[in-house]
Symmetry: C2
Subunit: 686 residues, 2 copies
């Protein structure tokens, strides 16, 4: 047989599901399994997929179709048939449900048990992952239950194919040709999601178009829902709150108007008639120009509860807490808490409040959002951002598991970590997928999709564990290069923090497209859109005073938390300028002045991008040429951008403080005016 | 070896360069060739590509690497070494140049001769095509010279990735990550182009952004030019005429201002310093809001000649004749001729005038443009549209070679056919490529890319020959399904004419996106944007009188041509309503009334889409499942759209003429108001 595959280089399309052939002892162990699969409920579509994935994955791990073709048997008669086999029991009535599974390797093969078919599918992906990592089949012993019920992707994809804050091409959803034409890519998308346990997808942007609630779109959505159902994925829609006016012909969208209530009830009925397991609505209301209940003098709870009543016990309303107002001159980071905390206890039982990890907006680093733990009578879920709007977009590497680790393990001071707070509910990630062949723009951004799913399944996993799994499945199992890649990944987000937003700074990026540095911007219509609003730098100092002498955003946190951040001396340097305005000459823990520390930190960031590019170059013998070249280009771009951020930022800070660069620091090659003049009208994702 | 390829279905990415394994006698004949390739100038990058393509292509046609690995030898010593081999002589000094080649199959193997390396590359693609069609290697005998020097694609791709009138995803150009990152896809794009002889590419939209002339874009363009040079492809840029003002800091873009002249000369020098073989500029000036020399009271010739002087003998200015004015109430189809014909003789020798095939705008059918043949002292090239802006976009099948055949073979009455008129210059096609995996949105649209290149190489090829070649290389060589597919293709453009614009009607599509029927639109700001401007239908009749009793557009044609279209009785029914306004009850050649004929024609169009969908369904055993399903979906969509066009159009004509449908015609299922209410704000390509 001719290896036609050799004509297509590694292009990243297979993601972490490459299942590259094993070698040596691991291969020998796997080859000793014979090919039978026992799957008593194989007529279930999900079990059929599990069997197919297992068979294909095994073939690929073995590097060839198994000598004896795989046999699928409905029933295994003890003592008869192949001995070293797979058996799938997918309706283990004694098992926990919701995707839980057990995997036990024995001398008799590998036994998978689950309460439901989806548990068997999850188990098959887990088996392939473990075997792919070289584990001994006989020693497999997993007993897993997902940590939270809702493991969700939010797509900021518009129906015309544009992806807001997307850096990987167009939307993967070709709405225009649905329902007739379903891109096979959407099946591979479901496979990738299911393989890491993602079980819910909001298919459209939170800045929603109302026409996606019209019948022609319900037909399209039904085709997706039908295709994804066997993979355990429920579809959700972002709903525009003004839809009853926009497309319903009503004069109002007032949530307390019975006609409006009826319109939404009818709309929900219409959707459920096509999609019986429709998940529900995600709503961005009264935020950044979106319509909402406050347009009618009603509260967020009024709006959410009206929609929740329309869905009934069939579905869920996910209401975003990301709100801030033009007319509100409160510290922007305080507005969500101020608006929502008083509503605790007022939301219906099928309403979930979706809260971003930090109180501003997905910055490279923020302290955790004070709403976590502050609404004990409300279902609260975490919203993370997988797409790197503020972390370099599609340049270089920024592995985000450490960021999410930081958030999930944060102690709210109100009875537990954020991981514990959201465990009964779930977490959502703003997707980073697109039409690019490798799905995510850069190859390493697939690690963020993977890590998001793995952490939602089990927040106790470390970023390092996940990086190791992903790298072995994606690039190489060879010890030395694997370890080198994992180390490159682990520090990568911190590198971006260093060269873009050191010491707790935030929101310094270019206007609109959010690309590149623009700390000098201070003339935008709304104060809280301006970088200068956040850094508050002048001749004497820099930083945002959020203590009692300033905005007192600290007051929104539990006292034990607020206390650690109240004094610059006890504040973690990573949050220093988030909470404090300090003189440039202020001495910080390292013994340096704040100014010298800033410069040092920017320079470290730049050096780290250089080291990463050099390190990657040495890996050429271990990585296929196409992916190696692509990542090398990504890292070259990132190195250039890091220098630009460092130079432009320092040039601006110097224009305010007049301080010289510390001895030894590289000079700034261009003028501040030159950096300010750079313009990128075509920057992606806006 | 494990066939990993089996995990990736046929997805169309390989286009007509699949080189699927031969079978039977054809395979045996090919296998009898031994593997040596003699290429005395193998150090030339183009020859190296030719050798590599030949080797890979042969391996694929053989279905396996040849038993004896291919050997590349610089010099063949007669009487020694393998006998049945390939030899490439790529600097045959006695040969014609410009890509010409000879291929001779002998008992001694296959001998390729060319004057230049690019001729050898073209020859290799021709050899692979011929072998792929099953031809006997010993009988190959080709002696080819391209029919015209410029075989060009015009990309209407914007720097932000949006493609105007693009229906295949985003732009293939990821400008944002150039020059660091070159998508390997752009090499495959060059291969596909070279394989059909395309040798020039305008990389950006004629509605151009000036910043693409800035240094950061010249660096990006240089990377493309370097990558494509070995494939014989020269890059061109669409230039915005006002660039000296937009990005040059000048107060004017007056082409006669010496400072403006100097700015463009410096810009050209800057480009040529990076790209020594830069092709030149394509300019859309004083048309549809674009700036141009008329803004300063200068003529098109003044503008074009100024740019031509800046390029000097290094490059070419391609000036578009597609102009029409808001303030001009002349029949829009007459304005280009009126404006340009008087300028004949005034253009510099390195200016080419680019004229669309018809005088309106790429309609499903138009009579040829009267400028062809009318400017004997001017270099005139043809502009065709490969992307199907007005022919169904990315639905169904519309094979365009018959449309281009129709144009190329039209006799201008001024000394030859259009093919003869443009032979000294060239032809351009508006590209239909995008980021979709199969490049062109639908699989069958790749045939239009292919056919455009083949016709530019040799306009004497028939649409049927080209369809047969393309189908054999793309889908199947098996006689019966191949023939069925070719027949489906051949009538497909005529089908679209029938259900959208029968009997010479034109410009009846939806506003803006140009999707779907909207003959009722009559309220747009400019008269000549309205469908009603073109059909002129009312209670008594329909059609545009362009005879002496009307606009006399006929007067722009040679008398021999005008004569045949002057009388409805002698006018080809395909152009009837283009040139004549006729009563609904007018009896036409078929003996039917015009109204009955219209209805019949719409109905035939619908029937043909149904027949095509059914015909394709029967081909399932012969086509891989992924591509079969995709085309089936395309044809389903087209069938739906054909009914919609038929019903909406007839409903509107009936609202004017009050006539009943002829006996037996299917009733119209919805009201005119319902058709008029359909809205598609997210339609692609606008």
């Amino acid at each position: 047989m001719f290896p036609l595959a050799s004509l297509h280089a590694e292009d990243g399309y297979d993601l972490w599901l490459r299942h590259a052939p094993l070698e040596g002892e691991a291969l020998a162990r796997l080859a000793a399994l014979d090919g039978a699969i026992y799957a008593p409920t194989a007529h279930d579509p999900t079990v059929a997929i599990a069997v197919s994935e297992l068979r294909t994955g095994m073939d690929r791990l073995l590097g060839q179709p198994s000598a004896a073709p795989l046999v699928i048997l409905d029933v295994r008669v003890p003592g008869q048939g192949p001995r070293r086999a797979f058996s799938l029991d997918c309706d283990g009535s004694a098992m926990r449900s919701h995707g839980a599974f057990r995997i036990a390797g024995t001398g008799d093969g590998i036994r998978i048990t689950a309460a439901e078919p989806i548990g068997c599918l999850y188990a098959v992906y887990a088996v392939l992952r473990e075997l792919g990592l070289g584990r001994d089949p006989a020693m497999l012993a997993l007993d897993e239950t997902p940590a939270m019920p809702l493991r969700m992707l939010n797509h900021w994809d518009n129906p015309d194919g544009h992806v807001e804050r997307g850096y990987a091409g167009r939307s993967i959803f070709d709405w225009w040709h649905l329902p007739e034409k379903l891109d096979p890519r959407l099946i591979d998308y479901a496979r990738a999601n299911a393989s890491v346990g993602i079980n819910a997808v909001v298919v459209n942007n939170v800045n929603a178009r109302a026409f996606m609630l019209e019948p022609r779109y319900i037909a399209k959505l039904k085709r997706l829902a039908d295709a994804w159902r066997p993979y355990g994925i429920r579809v959700f829609l972002s709903a525009r709150f003004s839809a009853p006016r926009d497309i319903g012909g009503l004069a109002t969208a007032d949530p307390l108007d019975p006609v409006v209530e009826g319109w939404w009830r009818d709309k929900a009925d219409e959707i459920y008639a096509s999609i019986p397991d429709f998940g529900g609505f995600l709503v961005k209301a009264n935020s950044e120009g979106q319509p909402g209940p406050q347009d009618y003098g009603r509260s967020h709870a009024d709006g959410a509860n009206m929609l929740a009543a329309a869905l009934g016990d069939r579905g869920t309303v996910i209401w975003r807490a990301f709100v801030y107002k033009a007319e509100d001159d409160t510290d922007r980071t305080m507005q969500a808490y101020a608006e929502f905390a008083p509503l605790d206890g007022q939301f219906a039982s099928n309403v979930i409040l979706q809260v971003k990890n930090g109180p501003l907006d997905f910055q490279p680093r923020e302290p955790f959002h004070p709403l976590f733990g502050a609404m004990p009578k409300t279902k609260v879920m975490l919203e993370a951002q997988i797409t790197r709007e503020y972390l370099g977009q599609a340049s270089g590497i920024a592995y985000l598991a450490p960021l999410w680790d930081e958030v999930l393990s944060a102690d709210t001071g109100r009875g537990g970590t954020i991981a514990q707070t959201i465990a009964p509910v779930g977490m959502a990630g703003v997707a980073n997928t697109g039409s690019d062949r490798n799905w995510t723009g850069t190859h390493f951004d697939a690690a963020n999709w993977y890590a998001f799913g793995r952490l939602a399944w089990n927040p106790a996993l470390t970023g390092e564990q996940i990086a190791r799994e992903w790298t072995a499945q994606t690039f190489t199992r060879a010890e030395a290069p694997l370890e080198a890649i994992v180390q490159m990944m682990l520090g990568s987000r911190e590198t971006v923090v260093k060269y873009t937003a050191p010491l707790g700074l935030a929101h310094l990026m270019g206007t609109g497209h959010h690309y590149g540095p623009a700390p000098w911007v201070c003339d935008l219509e709304r104060p809280d859109w301006n970088p200068c609003y956040y850094h508050r730098a002048d001749a004497s100092g820099i930083g945002f005073d959020r203590t009692t002498t300033g905005s007192n955003a600290l007051g929104q946190y539990a006292p034990s938390v607020a206390e650690q951040w109240a004094d610059p001396a006890s504040t973690d340097p990573r949050y220093l300028l988030w909470f404090h305005h300090l003189p440039w000459e202020h001495r910080i823990a390292s013994g340096q002045t704040l100014w010298d520390e800033l410069v040092t930190t920017y320079d470290q960031g730049v050096l780290e991008t250089e080291a990463r590019a050099q390190g990657w170059a040495t890996l050429a013998p271990h990585i296929d040429p196409e992916r190696h070249a692509a990542v090398a280009a990504d890292l070259t771009i990132q190195r250039t951008e890091a220098r630009w951020w460092r130079n432009a930022s320092l040039s601006f800070w110097q224009s305010l403080n007049g301080l010289p660069l510390p001895a030894g620091a590289a000079p700034i090659p261009e003028s501040l005016q030159a950096y300010q003049a750079r313009s990128f009208p075509e920057a992606p994702g806006q």
